[in-house]
Subunit: 170 residues, 2 copies
Amino acid sequence: MHDPATIEAGIPDDQLLPLRVWLALFSSVKQIEAVVRTNLRESFASTLPRFDLLSQLYRSPGGLTMGEISARLMVTNGNVTGLITRLVDEGLVDRLQDEDDRRVQWVRLTPKGNKMFSSMAPANQTWVTQAMAGLSDAELRQLQTLLGKLKSSVAAAPKHPRGDEDPSAG
Amino acid sequence: MHDPATIEAGIPDDQLLPLRVWLALFSSVKQIEAVVRTNLRESFASTLPRFDLLSQLYRSPGGLTMGEISARLMVTNGNVTGLITRLVDEGLVDRLQDEDDRRVQWVRLTPKGNKMFSSMAPANQTWVTQAMAGLSDAELRQLQTLLGKLKSSVAAAPKHPRGDEDPSAG
DNA sequence: GCATTATATTTTATGTATAAACTATCTCGC
DNA sequence: GCGAGATAGTTTATACATAAAATATAATGC
């Protein structure tokens, strides 16, 4: 039961639950990501970041600014610049300047990009559904509820907590 | 309630639960990752992949082979080569050849690496615990159970499912 | 023994990601 | 108007990640 990587690091066993849940979360996501990534590559010669980006644009027919994309994908601005550049090269999206604010870039799906996402989305849904087929609807809803609470919890947590305190003391 | 990115892609609303759970999982992990990454950088001038690698080595005092590290971190061999090279440069790990099989590289923590991980582990545990402070122990255990089921489910799913079928038909 | 095959790791080319510095533009207060 | 700061995005340097090809060694079958 005791985890050698934490015993010697001085972490009592009864404090390990959040850490264990975090590791389980992390590996679940990596596992599913691997499935989706492999399938996206084999079926569409595409990638997960590209798919996520197309997905965001798909649900925003009016387009999105670079900053809004960055916020929604939870990645840096510079990352979005690179992703968009590649997608523009592939003809899946186009960019246009804002009329009023010349700092702002609007990004939209091209018809080709729209068609591309429309064919990817059902496939992606199938892969994810099959990966989660071992969970009942009730379990999925339970998971959804818990993840909702987790999201609030993380948002409420201090951004730069001191890492040298005993978490059991709080 | 209806999600425009799926309605138009022809996905009925009652089939969206797994997809929604997947998105919630994905964003939860990214959220927590961001916290941990920021803190690792600010407190230890380090990164999450380095920390995960040190953690694996810490709990294997006899060392690990490159392949075993790759399997445990769920990343490619080539990725591990690069990570280890950087950690060797920093003096946190060392490599040695297997006596019997000259293809095999054994990797172990140096005393410096051991000390480094020992100081990082409690801090990491604090950050994660604080991020999850909004969930009760009962909820964390519930989450742990569900993630265990999810892991089995993903492992049991076909690796290369056809993505062009209606998942409601299965 | 020797060719074949399998295994362990590295290399190569490319894509994705960050943080920090930088450029350009806008807004606000005066 | 104008200067100070804020905001949007890009660039730079570097790290992390993949897939595929290459290298080196080991194990197997004959």
